[in-house]
Each structure stands twice: as structure tokens, then as C-alpha cells.
């Protein structure tokens, strides 16, 4: 019996494509945000509202990841923004090669910012780099304030967290200060926005933050 040292990254193929996507996005100077949350937290509703709020300021394109259907891409297109749907046919996360294909289908030169809406799943997508500029986490209040403590990976790595459905705070036992404190323990630099995609509450600050980041990236080009 003998041993051979290998030292090979198991997901090296995904990482190669992620690096390719990163180069493509940097070459076009387009920031790209990978949005991760449980199913039903309101990612698509937030995106649709955000696109509408930022109309005339920031042009947004969306890559939608779902196990089945074109429903989410249709909701995005209804706002007038371009959307490409990826169906993973059972897989619990998007991979960089799928995103590479989708990026080719977006009118990249007509956009300022690209969102990737990952498959609804709080666990698996954080392991698969897609070449994004940053990750954005969404947590909705009916899910419970203990989720950052129970599923730390995405909250530790995200640049921003949207706590959605705050219009339901009175109906559910969600201690927003506890959730925030648990997230900040893992990630001091994260920006936290308490929002409701339904009523529009808190979206102005989120949109301003997005616009500021996007314009900064554009400024680099000029």
C-alpha cells in the first residue's frame, strides 16, 4: 500500500468557470450580485420592486435560477428588464458554467448591474462561486430570527442582508435585533436593510446603497 499526495480542488471545474465569469464581468465593468435565500423569502419580489424603483438611474439585468419553470424570469420581464431563466432540473444551486451561458444571453452593454437570483436554498449555493462581485442574503421574518445562527455560511460571506416581509413583524415572533446581532457576530461589515417588498418599506435605503455601489463601479470605467 502506498499514498499519493494530490492536493486538487474538487470543484476546480466550477472555479475555472467562476474565474472566467469574473474576468468577463470585470472586462465589461459590470458588478454582479448573487442573491441567496430560502425559497419564498421574496427574492423575486425584491428584485422586481428594485428594478422599478431604480428605473432611469440603474439598468438591471437578471439571471434567474430555479429548479423548474420560467415564472420568475417572466415576473422580472414584466418590469421591462431583461431576464434569462436557468432551470437546474433538480439541482439545489446554480453552477458557474450555467451562469457563463446565461451571461452570453443578456444584453450586457445595455446594463449597469446584473443580479443572479440563485435557487431558493440557504445552504448549498454558498459553496458554489459563480464569479459574482458580492453575495446578497435575504431572510424573511416568517422563517425565524434563529436562521443566521443555524445557517451561518451565507450570512458570514454576504455584503448585504435584506430582512424582508417586515410588514409581518407583528404577526410572527421574529426578534429583528437578535437576528441582526447574530449576523454582526459573524460579519461586522455587512449592511443590513429591513424591508418589505410588498409595502415598499425600507427599499429606498437599499436602492440608494445599490445605486451608489453601481455608480462607483461605473466611475472606475470613466
Amino acid at each position: 500500500m502506498y499514498k499519493v499526495k494530490v492536493g486538487k480542488k474538487i470543484l476546480s471545474l466550477n472555479e475555472e468557470y467562476a474565474a472566467k465569469n469574473r474576468r468577463f464581468l470585470a472586462g465589461h465593468n459590470k458588478p454582479c450580485l448573487n442573491m441567496i435565500s430560502s425559497p419564498g423569502s421574496g427574492k423575486t419580489a425584491i428584485l422586481a420592486r428594485t428594478i422599478t424603483e431604480l428605473k432611469g438611474r440603474i439598468r438591471i439585468g437578471v439571471i434567474e435560477g430555479d429548479i423548474q419553470t420560467e415564472l420568475d424570469a417572466e415576473r422580472i420581464r414584466a418590469t421591462g428588464a431583461p431576464a434569462v431563466q436557468i432551470n437546474t432540473a433538480g439541482a439545489c444551486h446554480l453552477t458557474a458554467v450555467q451562469v457563463a451561458e446565461a451571461l452570453k444571453k443578456l444584453p450586457i452593454d445595455e446594463l449597469d448591474l446584473i443580479f443572479i437570483e440563485n435557487v431558493g436554498n440557504l445552504v448549498c449555493p454558498s459553496t458554489f462561486e459563480l464569479g459574482e462581485t458580492a453575495k446578497i442574503a435575504v431572510l424573511s421574518v416568517p422563517e425565524g430570527d434563529d436562521k443566521p445562527a443555524k445557517y451561518p455560511a451565507i450570512f458570514a460571506r454576504a455584503k448585504a442582508l435584506l430582512i424582508n416581509k417586515v410588514d409581518l413583524l407583528e404577526a410572527v415572533d421574529f426578534d429583528i435585533e437578535r437576528a441582526k446581532a447574530d449576523v454582526l457576530k459573524l460579519n461586522r461589515d455587512i449592511r443590513i436593510f429591513a424591508v418589505s417588498a410588498k409595502t415598499g418599506q425600507g427599499l429606498e435605503q437599499w436602492c440608494d446603497w445599490l445605486a451608489e455601489r453601481t455608480n462607483k463601479a461605473k466611475g472606475k470605467q470613466a
Binding site: M1, Y2, V4, G7, A91, T95, P152, A153, D189
Partner: protein, 114 residues
Amino acid sequence: MHELMVAQSLLASIGAEAEEQNAKPLAAKISCGIFNAINDDTLLFAFEAIAKGTICEGVKLNISHKPIQARCRNCRNIFEFDIASPRCKNCHSDDFELMPDPPLLLEEIEFDTE
């Protein structure tokens, strides 16, 4: 569920190495960061299922989960991040940044000499 994808990638890597060595692989050592969403039982099950009938059939996977390092912004100390007590081990500051996750790595393969 993504463990199946990890298992497929492992099978290809171990298979390729086995071909190069022209030997039967017996075991493989794998490591990943604690934030890598790898469930050991799921990965073992997936690997066993797809390895059937290949040179990797019966290969034993040893999976270790590595801690994540953090850098203190107060005293610059680099320490092992502990989720139960997220503070600098040196100055006890809670102002720190997490270092990148250790990658999902195929570290070593054990081969039969026969």
C-alpha cells in the same frame, strides 16, 4: 444534494490518478472548510452509489472539516474562528474579518501495491 456533483468530480479525479498509477485505489483523504455545505453521510452514499462497477468501487473516503481562520482588526492576530465564541483569542475583540474558506480538497489517495 450537491454532494452528488462533488462525488462525480471526486470519482473522475481518483479514477484519473488510478489510471496514471495503474493501481487500485483503496482510500482517499478529503478536506473542506466548516462552511462548505458538505454532509459526510450524503457524500459517502453518493460516492458509493456512483463508484459501483468502476475502479473506485470500495474506495473509503475520509472527510475532515477544517476551521476557518479570522484576522483581528484590533491586534492583527490570526486565530481559529469559533462560532460559539466569535472573538479574538488574543485580545478578545469582536472586530475581526473571516479569511476565505478552505477549499474542498482531494488531499491524498491510498493505492494497493498488488
